[in-house]
Amino acid sequence: MVTGASDRDALWRARELALAGLMGALGLLLPIGFHALGWGGRVFLPMHLPVVVAGFLVSPGMAVALGIVVPFLSSVLTGMPPLAPPVAPLMAVELAAKAGAASVLYRGLRLPMWVVLPGALFIDWAVLALAAWLAAGVFAIKAGAIQYVAAAIAISLPGTILQVVAVPLTVLAIERRVPRLRPRKQDWTG
């Protein structure tokens, strides 16, 4: 039975870990489903969907951890995205930035969803450009980071539209089903 503040905190942590784990599991399964239907992962960004949804529902630290873990785990379990060339590390940076930004803006600053999602997307692209520039240096690739990001945004336009439509609907549906997951004051400290 939950009695004190410490127990309540542990319960909050446990629920958050469980929720992040299940959203991460969806982050592994959705790309498999999309690939089975023949829809490209780079076009529809199926891994991004549950991770960004989780960003709206868990604390920033957990959202960043989930964003880092999911691409690496998917790479280890399914072989995609590949670790070399460094697609998985770039995706990890991208997802961590996007989910972390969504969590900070939505749960921390309590901004409305229509501000949070574009904000998270812009932060994601800026961080992706920085990561691509660093990776190009490490792997001695002489392509421009800006060109890489521009190409990535152009290719994944259908996926971005899918996120803009599906993420708010999913978050609202989940919050209606589990009201406890709506943003609260202690999310900053959590």
């Binding site: 469980a18 959705l30 489903g33 690496f72 280890v76």
Partner: protein, 239 residues
């Protein structure tokens, strides 16, 4: 317990029996060697490839399986390489470096993951000081993926039995509804799992089994592989 999503290939081999910790050490050494070794002259990359092929042979991994898994990377490695051939000398050299290094690192991961169960690797990662949070979350995701994969399989079977010849539009509507329902149910399920974890004594970290002692012979094997890889790269770089 086997997982629904895993690249592990069950075989009776020395590499499969090897403790995962020295295997990770060997993989880190090999990747460092690949990144350090020059691609001209080509002998260090050739020697590293030979080392990897010998390891795959020791693991008794079918060549067809390794090639098939490498083939899935053909686009991500092949396209930039082919595009680099259109550029100047520096671009062509960068393309060659990219392709050679990517192929060897990817092949090393194929061999590592085919000979080591993912949950065992995650259990090792959960004990490492800096990445323990990621390891624990990864273990949780793996369990969650098993649970959700079971649900997907059940839904798919029910769908195939009840509407085997439904139109694509109906199927897509069903798929969307099922996906939304799966996400909403996952959120509701996390409430129950969280409560169960606290009742079983969860205090910010997941309970971990005590690590098995690491045999010296296993550690020596992993260390020897890493040093041999680094030796090849070092010999080529500072010759």
């Amino acid at each position: 317990m086997p997982h629904h999503i895993d690249l592990y290939v069950k075989r009776e081999s020395a590499l499969h029996r090897l403790d995962p910790r020295p295997k990770m050490l060997a993989a880190v050494g090999f990747i460092a060697a690949v990144l350090l070794a020059p691609i001209h002259p080509p002998w260090p990359m050739g020697a590293l490839l030979l080392l990897l092929i010998s390891t795959a042979a020791v693991a008794r991994l079918p060549a067809r399986l390794v090639c098939r898994r490498m083939l899935s990377l053909a686009v991500v490695i092949g396209m930039p390489f082919l595009l680099s051939r259109l550029g100047g000398e520096a671009t062509r050299a960068a393309g060659e470096q990219f392709a050679a290094r990517s192929l060897l690192v990817a092949a090393a991961f194929v061999v590592l993951m085919a000979s080591t169960r993912a949950d065992v690797l995650l259990a090792v990662a959960a004990r490492l000081p800096l990445v323990s949070v990621f390891g624990q979350l990864g273990e949780f995701i793996l369990r969650g993926a098993d649970v959700l994969a079971e649900e997907v399989i059940r839904t798919n079977r029910a769908w195939a039995l009840r509407a085997p010849s439904a139109a694509l539009r109906v199927r897509l509507t069903g798929l969307t509804q099922a996906s939304m329902s799966l996400i909403a149910r996952a959120a509701a399920r996390s409430e129950r799992i969280g409560a169960a974890m606290v009742l079983r004594g969860f205090q910010y970290t997941l309970p971990m089994a005590r690590p098995a002692p690491l045999p010296w012979s296993h550690l020596a094997a992993g260390l020897a592989f890493a040093l041999l890889s680094l030796g090849i790269a070092g010999a080529a770089k500072w010759r």
